[in-house]
Amino acid sequence: MGEILIGVALIALGAVIYFQSNDFPALNEVHLDAGSFPKLIAGLLILLSLMLIIKQGLVLMKSKSAGERQGAGERARDFYKEYKLVILTLLVFFVYIFLMQFIGFVVSTIAFIIFTGLLVGSRAKKDIMVITIVSVAITLGTYFFFENFLNVRFPSGIFF
């Protein structure tokens, strides 16, 4: 099922790329302009995605008649249990990146490591200690290394 959705998404992407490619300003190239190569690739992508969808569709039709069916609610619960951490981590990661420009690299990074560490693993006292020490050491270590040796300016925000 997932493959079919990916296939549909890829076809949509291919179509967008294909039609956008027509609008590039043409210079005095006679044969291949800026849009030709992406058009070729997008065309191939659409073709292959169609093949994938048909192939998976056949597989799905065969298995549907044979396989037993689970209730939708049960399936959703299993899905959530299995992927809970993946989804939460992605969300936290996004928030971390978003907040970095406002509160600065150092503060947001320390907070992110501690928060994700506690989200993923145990919340025993000893583990909280370990993750806090690690987060401060890693953040300050990389911060000073990059600022001083490679002259990288990290987002500073309101605190630093």
Binding site: G2, H31, T89, Y96, V130, I138
Partner: protein
């Protein structure tokens, strides 16, 4: 040829660079032995640290990580029976039983020697073959370059992942990612959809960090994986492994099986040189072949010496093989060498057939960094084994956030552009979806790096002569295209045959 060696030796044999390679090897070994932390991830995260160095030291550091990483998986494979990296899956077949039988020291040191000796063999193959190939490649025009990329991508798509269609889709998707941003010939901005973020294009390294590091971390956060990890740790605590490494004795053991060593190294080097196929495939194929050729194949899987030698020789010799197309043609054989090439590009050096002619010191440096890294690997593995083992204890809850932060730093340092971080998270998610649905990531990554080169060569070819049949009438170009078609047809036929057999067995 000689001047390449002299330049290489002069570049590498300086205290500073020798030290850098040593650090690289240690980092690589650590990355290799932590399950869930792959060599590709380690090398991607090393890259930003090398921006401040000159090109040769940067490349030397990364080769150190590469060589160390290939041998690091051995430790977890032998002692715990779980592969530290995908490249040491076959190592668990014999090294683990051998350790269980009370000879963990023997299993480890045989593995180390096999890794070292096979690296040396693949080094010899690399220095003798790469310059010849690049001399040949200098005769190729844009037609041949385009066809070469076509064949590389079809081969990658057919050797990786579980289906040819998915492999090709991944490759095309990679090429499309690379078309975002300025057109390589006329500079017209393409597919930026009026987003400031996309105007400068999607940097290759951001795609790489997202797809290889972030997506891998997300996989390790799934409930199933976490449970597996917990079970493994509980088991691990029961064990208090004690062992003696006997370097000289085991070296003789390995040298007494020259057939297995040479055969597996050759297999590893050849597989390494094929674009897209790397240590994980070579490890298994070398083991399988050694079993077929062995006089007593029934001993394989019970902890026999040949099994350990074959599997470890197979994965370490891919390093040399992998570097052959990278150095000679500018076509990376794996994600790791793709990073190596992009590191060169960061320093303004264009990889390709001209690399040996224009930058002999870098090519010589790559050769000798590989040699030196092999020696460092041997020494640090024997001396540091006891300490390396402790690292497998780092818990997931520390590993995941720390590596995510390192990914963010790596991405940010690359261009000092904040918006790249959003691209990073999107790429990580796409990479995760790809792995979930068995689209292999290697073709996508190689597509990103080869796409622009393919486009430039295609357009140059047509500009030079609008006659498109030249792709089919120039003999080298035609050979490449025929190979591309054959690789697709062959894989399709093979899939059909295995499916047919499966059906037959069922009914």
């Amino acid at each position: 040829m000689m001047d390449l060696f002299i330049l290489g030796i002069a570049e590498i044999f300086q205290w500073r660079i020798l030290l850098i390679i040593l650090v690289g090897v240690v980092v690589g070994i650590l990355a290799g032995l932590i399950p869930g932390f792959t060599v590709a991830m380690a090398i991607v995260l090393t890259l930003p640290l090398t921006f401040g160095m000159d090109p040769v030291s940067g490349v030397a550091a990364m080769i150190g990580v590469f060589v160390g990483g290939m041998s690091g998986g051995l430790i977890t494979a032998a002692l715990l029976g779980i592969p530290g990296t995908p490249s040491s899956i076959a190592t668990t077949f014999d090294a683990y039983p051998m350790a269980q039988k009370g000879e963990p020291g023997k299993a480890l040191s045989i593995g180390i020697w096999a890794s070292f000796l096979s690296s040396i063999i693949s080094f010899l193959l690399l220095v003798s073959i790469a310059p010849q190939i690049s001399r040949f490649a200098l005769m190729m025009g844009p037609w041949e370059m385009f066809s070469l990329i076509v064949v590389s991508l079809t081969i990658i798509a057919s050797v990786t992942g579980d289906s040819l269609i998915k492999g090709l889709i991944a490759g095309l998707f990679g090429i499309l990612i690379a078309t975002v941003g300025a057109d390589p010939i006329s500079g017209i901005s393409r597919f930026s959809f009026d987003l400031q973020t996309l105007r400068a294009g999607i940097p290759f390294l951001v795609v790489l960090i997202g797809m290889f590091a972030i997506s891998r971390l997300l996989v390790s956060l799934e409930r199933k994986e976490l449970d597996k990890d917990d079970a493994k740790r509980a088991e691990e605590k029961l064990k208090d492994v004690r062992f003696v490494l006997r370097p000289i004795h085991t070296m003789l053991t390995v040298l007494k099986k020259p057939g297995t060593l040479l055969g597996s190294s050759a297999i590893g080097a050849i597989i390494g040189a094929i674009p897209g196929a790397g240590g994980s495939i070579a490890n298994i194929v070398a083991y399988d072949q050694a079993k077929k050729w062995s006089k007593n194949p029934e001993k394989f899987g019970t902890g026999c010496e040949e099994g350990v030698i074959a599997s470890e020789a197979g994965n370490n010799s891919t390093v040399g093989g992998d570097l052959i197309p990278t150095v000679a043609l500018g076509i990376p054989g794996s994600a790791v060498t793709a990073v190596l090439l992009s590191a060169l590009m960061v320093h303004g050096i264009t990889p390709g057939p001209l690399l040996i002619v224009n930058e002999p010191n870098i090519v010589g440096g790559i050769f000798f960094a590989f040699l030196v890294a092999s020696f460092w690997m041997l020494i640090t593995q024997f001396l540091g084994m006891r300490y390396f083992m402790k690292v497998t204890q780092v818990p997931v809850q520390v590993l995941v956030p720390v590596i995510l932060v390192l990914c963010v730093i790596g991405t940010f340092v690359l261009n000092n552009r904040f918006t790249d971080l959003y691209i990073l998270i999107v790429m990580g998610f796409i990479g995760y979806l790809f792995t979930k649905y068995n689209f292999s990531l290697a073709p996508a990554i190689i597509g990103v790096i080869l796409g622009p080169i393919a486009e430039v060569n295609l357009r140059r070819a047509v500009m030079a002569d609008p006659e498109w049949t030249l792709f089919l009438t120039r003999p080298i170009s035609l050979t490449f295209l025929i190979l591309a078609v054959l690789s697709i047809v062959f894989t399709a036929w093979q899939n059909y045959r295995t499916n047919y057999r499966l059906k037959k067995n069922i009914s």
